[in-house]
Amino acid sequence: MRIVIAEDSVLLRAGLTTLLTDAGFDVVAAVPDADELLRAVAEHQPDLVLIDVRMPPTHTDEGIRAALVIRRQYPEVAVLVLSQYVEESYATDLLSIGTSSVGYLLKDRVAQVSDFLDALRRVAAGGTVLDPEVVAQLLVRRRDDPTDRLTPREQEVLRLMAEGRSNNGITDALRVSPSAVEKYISSIFAKLDLPPTDTDHRRVLAVLRYLRA
């Protein structure tokens, strides 16, 4: 898999390059700002870009704005955004263009190496990965109380779905049987009035409907 990294800290840029190279990925460019990122994407047409939110010149949301440009102009490029703090307003921006091949994680998560690499592969494979902190922030945005409709366990399942986990992943995380997970998920679909279409699509819809309600 071919990856472009955009990160203004020299230290982290080098660290991420080593991490991804060791894991067998091909880092085709590692750049320090959004302008160079857009040039590198045009030049290399990578499979995935890994983007830091705060970059020069203003150190605010350059990375998010660049991610939006890439999502619009290169829909086939997967985008994983990393940030020292995750903010729901950035997440909403990122998801506004579509919910596939996109991820938004706290930078801390790179320290959990195998989890981070899993997340990166899921995004590259077309999945959606949201940091649990983003999900928590999106949940407080709901107009009605989330506990009104879903049980705490169902909310937990939904949170794991929002992190892009498969049924097996949820089974492992919650230490319950696969059939219990299926039961929770169909109950979530029912409570959120989602029509029976293909399951993957319904999963994303469930997450989004719940988060944006």
């Binding site: 982290l12 991490l19 605010t60 903010e87 307003s89 950035y90 790179v110 320290a111 195998s114 902190e133």
Partner: protein
């Protein structure tokens, strides 16, 4: 009769060239007093000027403190935080490469990795409390959802502010909500809380309500006193309504341009 005709000078009249000293100084004093009253600043004018100058210097101090917090946030973000992420990442890679769980080196690395991850999380919490970058960037609404989501109890958030207030006032509003929710979590024994922020012309109103046991006061030692001081620093007010048994409502009213 002219001044100079010596023959006609009555005994009580002093020569024109030199008026009697007492009369002259008396006249001068009266004159000066009249001039002061008519031309110069009155005591209340002086006080008004002083108030204006104090208000200006206080606003400068509030703005400077705000700028200083932002600078520290930025320094930590660019420095210590990146280093810690890098350290934790390297330890994570080392941990993943050592597969023998009984290896003492692996155990040491595991402990160091866990410790670095915790330090990173703590530093992140601290730095975000200093001054969230998203507050400048996107305003109160976006910044508050971060603290509300991290509160250890469910909190409803409603922000209805069309035109943004000055950065100093936004920062004060942010810290009031942040501190108030910390207080609720520590002392109130509440199951739910609600935060509403709205703007009525040039006033920003911030209200934090919880369904806890009440009895909160802004007396010495409580965090509420600090909140009142923060509000006062931008000419705002903070009121606490907290009867025993609850519920508690804290309301801050802040002038938008301070």
């Amino acid at each position: 009769m002219g001044c100079g005709s010596a023959s006609a000078v009555p005994y009580w009249r002093w020569p024109c060239s030199s008026p009697p000293p007492r009369v002259a100084s008396g006249l001068a004093r009266t004159d000066e007093a009249a001039a002061r009253t008519l031309l110069g600043p009155s005591r209340s004018d002086e006080l008004a000027l002083q108030v204006e100058s104090l208000a200006r210097s206080r606003a400068d101090i509030v703005a400077a403190t705000d700028a200083e917090r932002r600078r520290i946030e930025r320094d930590l973000h660019d420095g210590a935080q990146q280093r810690l992420v890098s350290l934790a990442m390297n330890l994570g890679m080392a941990r993943a490469s050592l597969t023998d769980a009984s290896d003492p080196a692996r155990q040491a690395i595991e402990a160091a990795h866990d410790e670095a991850s915790r330090a990173l999380a703590e530093l992140r919490e601290f730095v975000r409390g200093l001054h969230p970058a998203v507050l400048n960037d996107r305003g109160l609404d976006a910044a508050l959802s971060g603290i509300v989501a991290r509160a250890p109890l469910p909190v409803k958030l409603r922000v209805d502010v069309e035109t943004r207030c000055s950065p100093s006032v936004e920062a004060v509003a942010y810290f009031i909500v942040s501190e108030a929710l910390t207080n609720v979590a520590k002392h109130a024994d509440a199951a739910h809380a609600e935060v509403t922020v709205d703007r009525d012309r040039d006033r920003l109103r911030v209200r934090i309500t919880d369904d806890g046991r009440g009895g909160a006061s802004d007396g010495g030692g409580s965090g509420l006193r600090g909140l009142a001081q923060r509000a006062a620093a931008v000419d705002g007010t903070l009121t606490v309504y907290s009867p025993a048994g609850g519920p508690t409502t804290i309301t801050a009213e802040l002038p938008c341009e301070s």
